[in-house]
């Protein structure tokens, strides 16, 4: 029974990891930019949920409706205004640039919200769900369901909509899609906006479970990295598989070695995968 409980915890954790990573993976895959601001976007989303709940009384799932368009606009503006200028530059430049922007954003949050931990406490609390001896808090189940739903929505947008097809086309071959009449800079901005929107929504969901602090940005970013490398880059199924894999591994790792080694475990997996299978679990070779 313990094994099933740990597996269940792993799946819940993994769906949240998938939601954290999917926007990051999309931006990395399509723009070839590692967005180091992703972690701070997530934290900002959590603050938005906290503010919406405490000031306006909006439940986190309602706050998603504000977070998604707000973060999309933020991401779109950053890409249009700043990143598009250096998009063709070497890896080092874009990486360092997003690092600089992240320093600014994180510093702004530290000043605006202070470094103390805040907690979004739902009143009345949602309680727990138990089947036999398996117990899961309801807020985690709600967060998991919304995380999977959001990921599914992103998948459908990429698969079914015109803009989504254009994004996938740009990812496959930028030059060819430009020749086919795709406005590449605008697709870049939309993709970055989608990535930011996913990060903001993930932050809203995480606010239901974890305490909120600007300091957490780094660990969210780390998880996104690991999930992308494990699952394979730039595809939604890759992020889901990578997220679930990491979540389950961490759950069982905590059981076996103790929770303090979960970071070592995930980064150890990262290095192992980078060396042995850099295209990830679902990735195709040479398509990175």
């Amino acid at each position: 029974m313990l094994v099933i409980q740990v597996l269940l915890n792993g799946i819940v954790l993994g769906s949240l990891y998938a939601c954290i990573a999917v926007g990051f993976s999309l931006v990395w895959g399509v723009l070839n930019v590692i967005n180091l601001m992703h972690g701070s976007f997530i934290v900002l989303g959590s603050y938005l949920a906290w503010g919406a709940y405490n000031a306006l009384g909006l439940a986190p799932w309602t706050a998603l409706l504000i977070a998604a368009p707000a973060f999309f606009c933020l991401g779109y503006a950053i890409q249009r205004g700043i990143l598009n200028r250096v998009i063709a530059a070497p890896v080092l430049v874009t990486l360092t640039l997003t690092f600089g922007l992240d320093l600014m954003l994180n510093n702004a949050m530290l000043i605006g919200f202070k470094a103390d931990y805040r907690r979004l406490i739902l009143d009345p609390s949602l309680g727990t769900v138990s089947v036999g001896s398996l117990v899961v808090p309801t807020d985690r189940i709600v967060a998991t369901i919304f995380a999977l739903l959001l990921t599914l929505v992103l998948y459908l947008v990429l698969r079914r909509s015109r803009i989504g097809r254009a994004i996938v086309a740009v990812r496959m071959d930028r030059d060819a899609s430009r020749l086919m009449g795709v406005d590449v800079p605008s697709i870049y901005a939309i993709t970055f906006g989608l990535g930011a929107a996913m990060a903001g929504c993930a932050g809203v969901l995480l606010a239901m479970i974890y305490p909120i602090s600007p300091i957490a940005a780094g660990s969210f970013l780390g998880k996104a990295f690991v999930v992308c490398v494990l699952g394979g880059l730039g595809s939604v199924p890759g992020a889901v598989v990578g997220g679930l894999f990491l979540g389950v591994m961490e759950s069982f790792g905590s059981l076996a070695f103790g929770p303090e080694h979960s970071v070592t475990l995930s980064f150890g997996l990262l290095i192992l995968f980078l060396i042995v299978r850099p295209q990830g679990l679902l990735g195709k070779r040479g398509f990175e």
Binding site: A89, L97, G222, V263, F267
Partner: protein, 314 residues
């Protein structure tokens, strides 16, 4: 690198050695940090500037060196033996790690090298018996010859400066040598370099090792000077990013530019710390963004641009 800028930098650095004459401990502290940053930036140039591989492993090397040195000095080793040993161990392990790591390209290499520091930090945190874990490690006085605080600070200043000179000269020699030429070939077109017989993996691993050895030695000096180190401090991710900013500030791929960039960066950092304590990391971020958007080729390019314009006019 032009001969003039090479000898000019060396002369300026030797002149910099007169700093203890001012008898100001603040100036000495800044001087030691300036040399340390310059060692990091010049070392990073080997892998990031010459070879074009965005390495974020500087923090890993620095922390590794600091802990190596701290543990050895605690065991009663003399300072310079600890510096040498840490350098040697760092070189060999970086070479071995490099063979696995440099197969990755672009973002993957960047993340892989970043993860090395994370893993080392967690390992240091959990190896409580050897490193003291999160409590940090106290390091006894390594210099017994000078009893005064000023004397000790001057000693570490000269040691760091000497290490910087060594780093600068070795990196210059690398640039002049067949190795440096091979690295530049790899940067321009790795497949082509491989084709004409450059052993790319070997060359990159050696470059990676050289980007680590002096940083690890600087880590030992830092640990001995500070007398206390902790994992969050010496494995800080900012230590991996700052050298890159310095190298970009000076001009990518030029050791003299890296020294210049490190000194200017430290100056800016010090001013910002003093005046805007609350928003110092935000200002640092702004500096990075402005630098990348408006001066992507660094300060060394300003002189070139000016002389180019003058040439056009004349």
């Amino acid at each position: 690198m032009k001969k003039s800028s090479y000898f000019g930098t060396i002369a300026l650095l030797v002149l910099f050695g007169c700093l203890p004459l001012f008898e100001s401990s603040y100036a000495l502290r800044i001087g030691i940090f300036a040399c340390m940053y310059a060692i990091m930036a010049v070392s990073w140039t080997v892998i990031g500037g010459f070879t074009g591989y965005p390495s974020f492993a500087t923090a890993a090397f620095f922390g590794f060196g600091a802990y190596c040195g701290g543990v050895l000095i605690n065991k009663g080793w003399p300072l310079f033996a600890a510096v040498g040993a840490a350098g040697a161990v760092a070189f060999v392990s970086a070479l071995l790690l490099g063979i696995a790591l440099v197969r990755l390209r672009g973002h993957y290499f960047a993340i892989g090298s970043l993860a090395v520091a994370e893993v080392l930090r967690e390992a240091t945190n959990s190896a409580t018996d050897l490193t003291g874990g999160g409590m940090g490690l106290n390091i006894p006085l390594a210099v017994t010859s000078s009893s005064s605080v000023m004397g000790e600070a001057s000693f570490f200043f000269w040691a760091m400066l000497a290490l910087l000179l060594l780093t600068f000269i070795v990196v210059h020699l690398i640039q002049q040598s067949k190795l440096g030429f091979g690295l530049v070939c790899i940067k321009q077109n790795e497949s082509a370099a491989d084709m004409i017989g450059v052993n790319a993996t070997m060359y990159k691993s050696v470059a990676f090792a050289f980007s680590g050895v002096f940083v690890a030695m600087a880590g030992v000096l830092y640990a001995a000077w500070m007398h206390y180190i902790e994992p969050a401090d010496v494995f800080d991710v900012l230590l991996a990013v700052k050298p890159i900013v310095m190298a970009l500030l000076g001009g990518l791929g030029s050791p003299a530019g890296a020294v210049l960039g490190a000194f200017v960066f430290l100056g800016i950092e010090e001013l910002v710390w003093r005046n805007f304590l609350q928003i110092h990391s935000g200002v640092l971020g702004l500096l990075v963004v402005v630098l990348l958007l408006f001066l992507p080729n660094g300060m060394m390019s300003i002189a070139k641009r000016l002389s180019f314009r003058r040439g056009q006019r004349g």
